[in-house]
Symmetry: C3
Subunit: 499 residues, 3 copies
């Protein structure tokens, strides 16, 4: 009905439909229509799978029904097609006469879903397990404990799946559906991280909640931000108009009510085709302490890496990281890809204004807070005020939460138009904790060693005086400003409300 | 089907329908049926708009589809009807041969939506931009930074939209859909703050998530409270029965599953007609440090202002604020309006009990915590223990969060029946931070100046001893109470659980 | 359509349907089909109820419509059937010629819903009002205030409903829909806590948001955890496939998309029949400071109690608590019941792995944090460093939040597969606050009395040195670990990112 009215005669403007449709066909990337590769009867449709289904219909009826309702079930892809172990698979064991694996890896899925595998395999998502060698993980393993890393970090980042002597995954390492899971066959990731088994549904993977399993919480609250953004609000109000089940799903063409995470970061829209490389359209990294714009270098071997703005970028054809550069996307190219998707629904004013406001916020965070505090922390270490070890002094936790939690929330909030996160959970917390947690702790640390806080004052003068945003700290709040404020305040809350 | 069973013969009680329907017609406010004013062919339906649509269908297909699906699109209201610049508009520029504006202001919308414009224009919502002259904003601009105010505060409260030499809004001030936006034509607000472009849907505006864009977060978590309230729970379970798309949308008549924010604060129900003046039914202000009951004075010029209970209220016909009083709603009148909406679904016992419990909580907050702490802060300033400047001492932040964040959460939680917010995010935090943040900081501040904490003890005796709720602080926890508790505790958690 | 394709000929595997259906009939617990008891014309269908409906259709139309749409309305159960006061009811009053009660208690509902009443009446839910004699409540009443307990604690836990001289509930004690409400007729609980009046819908009660009214917030965030779990994500994406309205609702048979809270804790699935005893399938208690596995003893009088693992469990037939033991469910039995529900959708590897990871997390929390800190707190009290009164010293609040808030979040997060809660809101907070809040406060407390921190060091050595997880605290972070971390970090964020 929605669609019918779109073409209906009640519309006073008869759209030149044939022309429009023709245009759509032209600019629609052929990748949109990419179908799973593989051939029925060869790559799937193993007749022995019938026995699996019959038994599992009674044993695990929910799982079996979900498979049956899925495109797999309806197309004849059965249990054995995905779970049969290859001779070389170390995670194989004999079950009811067949050698099978519990784990279906991205490599297994690539038999039929080659393009998706390759896009994902080169992407940041596939590297999420690298956290196992990171500072975050040290904190998890040592200060928290291994059992907390298993049910926490590894359920999003992915862990190494260990295989027992019986060919089954060990209970401590399984279940694990982390996006960067390290599989027994060496492949990275888990398709079911997003496409929950045993439906493996496109529609479900396109919901924002799917991404929110991991992009949630104090340090990367993208789902909370989305939910409070206009995008999220309209999505929740219009989910029945989202056409989430559609095979082809081009923003502005197949649906227009609202974007989900997938729309902007993965799906087709504007001049962009779809991709499973989620980081491709991202121009700022909002992850580290200090944000940088990142150029992207793609290699012949399917891998890729980022080069921060200002550093030398290898050229196409050059050797890099044991392979050869085949494509370079500068941060501007990456941003233009995102803007192209925006343009499916927004005019240029909106898009340019958004990026101006977003960039300004990141610069404010970087220049006023992140860089000077990082520099002070470095000075403290160099001059022996704190140990080289991370996380053994309170000041390190204060700084860590400023950048890793609060500063990210501010930057993510600005990037996705969630004002509450940009301000209250973001810069408000960054500023409050800079002035009333970090600085007092800085003085404490210095006092503890020197018996006075002179060094702290020196560090603050050295690193904070250069930014006008800190003037109030050194000179007090300007009288005129306060007077103006008092007047505004009394108008709102009544005479004398602000003392 | 839902409706059919309501009239169905399976119902053992044949309702006297004609009588009921007649009663409905009588008490239904004629405003319910108010249609947009304006005339097709004069106020909308500019034939030149056809060219806009044709081009934007290819350029920004999502936007254009949304418009086409909307009541605007279906009724022949086109791009140019809303975006054509008036000769006096300073935000006009020539685009493809037509002088247009990017910004469509409430004044523009009032061409056809006069009643909604006027109700909104006099309301608190339209004044949300007044925050630009407030203490909150000082904090934002000075302690945070202007870029944070742009992506934070102003995206809800509204900012001044600046127009460049090219007639286009400057990227730093646009996009902005704050509810109190200050527009180039002097009008205040943004209809698309709630009715997201380019559908401008009633149904979407009626969803609670719409209000939750701004009524969210640590300082005014109305959406979180709604979601955990019975109202929210039943809404989420019954959204398909909410009839959100209905033109007429009277609580208890056109839908009955659950109320949304709009139901109670804006829409028709009981004896109340609909209004875009969101504050009209609110009897307590829960915003300032100390809550007050507010009388509402409406003026001939369409504006209005609040007069706290206990202060002199001007009479109808008297001059006030450069206009004349045309209506006075006492706080009891405002509350009765809300109760009338409640009565669409609840009996008197429920409604009176709710208000008793709500009032009691506000009084507890006011009398035990807010008034005495505010008085101590005033004493500290008067006697030179802290500077007159706001936010330059930690104790000011502690008090600020007690009232502005935690105390509001308690009051909002009680007002909308969210027990978790009333207690855990509310009074629990207020009490914990009063005793274990504010008092220690008070002692610190006093000790810092006087070398002892005598003054702090005096202030606590002066301001806290009068409220029995603080007895435990001065006298310790009563032994009998503790013994009773110990017994209860051991029954729950086992012998010796509470030491 | 969903169902049709399941049986459709497009499916390459013709399931042996007759056999499967037969199996279903066999293992389906006869309780599944239990219908309300009672008889029309005797237990319900009071002809005088017609007058109530006619008047309330005009007075409170929303309430009346909701009733009419409900199974009650459609089956002829009317206002008077539930609200007519029995002669002995002290909460009766005459209203329009009939003696009625405002409150409908579980005992009233048991006229027709006997099995549900009995299951609920013996369960933990019915005892939620016992909090009135607990430490939590002391905090609420004394440190917060009675008005906060009314709108906070009691709206989930239930309060005592007081009846005025007019036979109506007092506004301070009503409305109250706490799950452990203490009713004028002595019965405990409130069916409308979950089945919101006046629809009393199964479908609504099965939504996770229903449970989230109370299982929410800093101290028991089950709904937040569910929402970020795979279960919750798929539920939100598939709510239209959940068959929530179905009378029979067996997991894996009547629906398979996702489980809600009700699925795992109350509804039929695997070999388990449905029950209103929500605690039956729970093997760990995650509520107290130290988690224990609990055996369940059921008594002839319908009541039940828990016996922690390791304590003597009475045998069937023995006398206990003024009744006789009729059934004992060991913690393993309880867990097997849960596993049986899991098996409707999951294979054994998944289920065993989940429990292994969950158990490991609880053990980590118990052994590394909860037990040693609880022991230190006991030592502090015994040796006079802190008073025996609870909550009058800051260190007691720190410990309280570690176990009651953060430690529970970790344990709940692990139990329901919400990695963000298990880690960031859980063990991360527990660890951070143990090392950087609890230990400094411990030293403060000891220093305050002794003038040095020697005793604090002794306590830490006594209680923390035994757990290898605290090695880093005593010996510093291991150099090799840090070096490994530095390398991983630099690979991710660039050379020199980690100083």
């Amino acid at each position: 009905m929605h669609t019918r009215s779109f073409l209906g005669i009640s519309n006073p403007f008869s759209l030149p439909w044939l022309g429009v449709l023709f245009a759509l066909l032209l600019f629609t990337n052929p990748l949109q229509a990419a179908r799973p590769t593989g051939e029925m009867g060869k790559d799937w449709g193993n007749p022995k799978g019938k026995a699996c289904v019959e038994c599992h219909q009674a044993e695990t009826p929910g799982l079996t029904q979900e498979w049956n309702h899925s495109q797999h079930g309806q197309s004849g892809v059965n249990c054995l097609d995905c779970h049969q172990a290859k001779p070389e698979d170390k995670d194989g064991f004999v079950h009811e006469g067949e050698r099978i694996s519990v784990i279906v890896t991205p490599k297994d899925c690539s038999t039929c879903h080659k393009a998706e595998f390759e896009e994902m395999d080169g992407s940041h998502h596939a590297k999420a397990g690298d956290i196992l060698g990171s500072l975050d993980n040290l904190m998890g393993e040592v200060i928290g404990g291994p059992a907390a890393v298993t049910v926490g970090c590894k359920q999003c980042h992915g862990g190494v799946v260990e295989i027992g002597a019986d060919g089954k995954p060990s209970p401590g390492s399984w279940p694990n559906t982390g996006i960067g899971r390290i599989n027994p066959d060496g492949s990275k990731g888990s398709c079911s991280a997003c496409h929950a088994r045993h439906t493996f549904s496109k529609a479900q993977a396109r919901t924002p909640d799917t991404c929110g399993k991991c992009h949630v919480g104090p340090d990367h609250p993208q789902i909370e931000i989305y939910n409070e953004s206009k995008h999220g609000i309209v999505y929740r109000a219009s989910v029945d108009k989202m056409n989430l089940d559609s095979d082809k799903w081009v923003a502005g063409i197949d649906y227009s009510a609202a974007p989900t995470c997938a729309t902007c970061h993965m799906s087709a829209g504007g001049k962009e085709g779809k991709t499973h490389n989620v980081g491709e359209r991202i121009s700022w990294t909002l992850r580290p302490a200090v944000s940088k714009k990142l150029n992207l270098v793609k290699l012949e071997n399917g891998q890729e890496f980022d080069v921060p703005e200002g550093e030398a970028v290898p050229k196409v054809g050059e050797a890099a990281k044991e392979s050869k550069v085949i494509e370079v996307l500068t941060w501007e190219d990456r941003r233009n890809k995102m803007k192209s998707v925006c343009s499916a629904c927004h005019t240029e004013n909106m898009v340019e204004g958004h990026y101006k406001q977003f960039d300004d916020l990141v610069e404010l965070y970087n220049e006023k807070f992140a860089k000077p505090i990082a520099a002070m922390m470095e000075d403290l270490k160099k001059e022996g005020y704190i140990t080289p070890a991370p996380f053994d002094e309170k000041i390190e936790w204060v700084w860590w939460e400023i950048w890793h939690h609060e500063g990210r929330r501010a930057r993510h909030g600005a990037s996705m138009s969630g004002p509450d996160y940009a301000w209250w959970h973001g810069i408000y917390d960054v500023a409050k904790n800079t002035y009333f947690e970090f600085i007092p702790e800085l003085k404490e640390v210095v006092q503890h060693k020197d018996g006075n806080t002179k060094k702290a004052d020196e560090l603050l003068a050295k690193h904070f005086k250069g930014h006008e945003g800190h003037d109030w700290y050194f000179n007090g709040l300007n009288k005129e400003q306060i007077e103006k404020v008092r007047q505004g305040y009394e108008e709102r809350y009544g005479k004398g409300a602000l003392k």
